[in-house]
């Protein structure tokens, strides 16, 4: 999979040639920072934009498609690939449908001011 290994120079400086930090620790760092960013990003949101924002954020949660694509790998075996197929299909619906629906909602915001 896509691991995340700290360059060995840094690791060497830490422990004199030891292994890189386990992914779990790095993952937790990333999670903490991303959660903080997420909290800070959404401040004043007028009610009119709540629904499109929800729809757009939902489309972003389709990022799981990136993981699903790996599951098409032969190493997963028949059952694994079947689960993978389902995952890919559903995640694609989430992404494609999500971004399109959000755009459709937002199109209405632009048009309104033009007619009277």
């Amino acid at each position: 999979m896509s691991g995340f290994a700290i360059p060995t120079v840094a690791a060497a400086a830490q422990e004199g040639g030891g292994e890189p930090l386990p992914f779990l620790i790095i993952g937790i760092w990333i999670l903490l920072l991303a959660v903080f960013v997420g909290f800070e990003l959404i401040t004043k949101v007028p009610p009119t934009i709540h629904t499109p924002l929800m729809s757009g954020a939902n489309a972003i949660s389709g990022i799981t498609i990136v993981g699903a694509l790996y599951c098409a790998g032969t190493g997963y075996g028949g059952l694994g690939q079947f689960f993978g197929f389902l995952a890919i299909t559903m995640a694609t619906v989430n992404c494609v449908g999500g971004f399109l629906v959000t755009d459709r909602m937002l199109k209405m915001f632009g048009q309104r001011g033009k007619k009277s």
Binding site: M1, S2, G3, I30, L31, A34, V35, V37, G38, L41, I42, K44, V45, P46, P47, T48, I49, H50, T51, L53, M54, S55, G56, A57, N58, S61, G62, T64, I65, G67, L69, Y70, A72, G73, T74, G75, Q81, G84, L86, A87, I88, A91, T92, V93, N94, C95, V96, G97, G98, F99, V101, T102, D103, R104, M105, L106, F109, R112, G113, K115
Partner: protein
């Protein structure tokens, strides 16, 4: 690190992932402003495209049939749903997509289980369990991903049902009571532990996780069932947050930092949006999730003994409108159900032709979803400048000659201001009673979601127009044209 189609190195992949993450952050920020939202959505979509393309470049040894097949089918379905479904069904569509996203995360975790359990049968007794094979953190991550993803799926499907009117009960047998929910949650936790740490054969590990799916689906149903239809937007926002968490958990399973970042972004921002929505209703999140108003249905169908209600018709009301200088229209869920927005636009045009000032007062939680009324009125080509939100218009009611309430109820109930013991006490409401005349278009005197009486209907300056919103407005249009 595997090298795929394009023999891309892992460093390149990481750089593209960073670009994608920045697109998501930037896009999400812009999505929270009315003017910048459309470009924000485009940015986020760009980030997704980058992530998908680079992943396709990296994956090796895949069944292209599975891959292309899945993407093709998914694109076709997503495209069809997004473009064909009616505007008024947008909220339920968002719920559906959200459920699918959660399900996808669960299935990815299950695929990993399938992959690992294969190795378990090879390595036999030495590994002993899923955590023995891949570590405790992997076992927990898989368990959480399956759990959260499945809860999101069933919860979202129930939300879909409630919003589209297909489900209206608050219970499904014992499922829905908080006691049962607590028990189900406990079972889920136990299953996560058993599936990841104790099940020792490949068959056992797989079936344990499938059992977890079932338990989590039940939990999802039980958590969303008891919540009333009017609160669904808050629930969907929360489920949205959960699907982000599920994606983040999957990121730990696959050791993919983009999944963790994007999932956490959505998880955290979804939670904040949920809080913002609760504040607009002046209720706390626990109150929305766990307190229920009614036993079976959330109110409605009760004629609570009104006195002095003045029933009227289009013939009597049209001259009042004709003579008015300023009219404020208050749309509500009834307008959406009756699909009356185009007729309302027609009526507004006629009134404006007679020199009447027409404005619309949009309450933050009017309709089925925040912004629902805005979308409906936009569909009917109502100019953006005529829509006002609560803070802008509330002081204006006392200067208005007529306030027309179309299918709205709790959002203009004076009890919210006057009675501290009421279920809706403190909720910001529209002061329609300040207008000289109030016309309420409603099918009957039945209560709104909150299930309480609305003294507005018995007020001296209120005229009740009983009927379907679309038909009533049509009659008003006909009468106005004759004047």
């Amino acid at each position: 690190m595997t090298l795929g189609l394009l023999a891309i190195s892992s460093s390149v992949e990481q750089v593209v992932y960073m670009a994608a993450a920045l697109c998501f952050i930037f896009g999400l920020k812009r999505l929270s402003g009315v003017k910048t939202a459309r470009s924000g959505n485009a940015f986020a979509a760009l980030g997704m495209a980058l992530a998908v393309i680079i992943t396709l470049g990296i994956v090796a040894d895949v069944s292209w049939f599975v891959l292309i097949g899945g993407v093709a089918v998914g694109t076709a379905i997503g495209l069809a749903l997004a473009t064909r479904v009616q505007m008024t069904a947008m909220p339920e569509l968002v719920a559906l997509f959200n459920g699918l996203g959660g399900a996808a995360s669960a299935f990815v975790a299950l695929a990993e289980v399938a992959r690992f359990s294969g190795r378990l049968s090879e390595e036999g007794a030495t590994a002993g369990s899923l955590s023995g094979l891949g570590g405790a953190d992997l076992a927990v991550a898989i368990g959480l991903s399956v759990l959260i993803g499945s809860v999101t799926l069933s919860g979202s499907l129930i939300a879909f049902g409630k919003l589209s009117g297909k489900i209206w009960k608050n219970r499904f047998g014992p499922i829905g009571s908080q006691a049962v929910n607590l028990a189900t949650a406990a079972v889920c936790v136990l299953l996560v532990v058993w599936a990841g740490f104790m099940a020792s054969s490949s068959g056992a590990v797989l079936s344990a996780h499938l059992l977890l799916v079932v338990a989590a689906l039940v939990l999802g149903i039980g958590l969303v069932m008891p919540i009333g239809g009017a609160d669904m937007p808050v629930v969907i926002s929360l489920l949205n947050s959960y699907s982000g968490l599920a994606a983040a958990a999957t990121g730990f399973v696959l050791q993919n930092n983009l999944l963790i970042i994007a999932g956490s972004l959505v998880g955290a921002s979804g939670l904040i949006l949920t809080q913002i929505m609760c504040k607009a209703m002046n209720r706390s999140l626990p109150n929305v999730l766990f307190a229920t108003f009614g036993e079976e249905e959330g109110g409605g169908g009760k004629d609570e003994g009104y006195t002095g209600v003045k029933s009227s018709g289009a013939e009597e009301c049209a001259p009042i409108l004709d003579a008015a200088r300023s009219v404020i229209i208050v749309p509500g869920y009834g307008l959406a159900v009756a699909q009356a927005q185009h007729k309302v636009r027609e009526m507004a045009s006629i009134l404006e032709g007679k020199g009447v000032e027409v404005r619309y007062a949009i309450h933050p939680v009017a309709g089925r979803m925040p912004g629902h009324m805005n979308v409906l009125l936009a569909e009917a080509d109502v100019p953006y400048e005529q829509l006002f939100d609560l803070d802008q218009i509330n002081a204006e009611f006392r200067n208005a000659d007529v306030a027309i309430v179309l299918g709205a109820n709790d959002v203009c109930n004076p009890v919210a201001n006057d009675d501290p013991t009421s279920p809706i006490a403190g909720m910001p409401v529209l002061n329609v009673w300040d207008a000289q005349t109030v016309m309420v278009v409603k099918r009957s005197l039945s209560a709104g979601y909150a299930g309480i009486k609305n003294p507005l209907f018995e007020a001296d300056n209120t005229l009740m127009l009983f009927g379907d919103a679309k038909k009533m407005v049509e009659d008003l249009v006909t009468e106005l044209q004759e004047l």
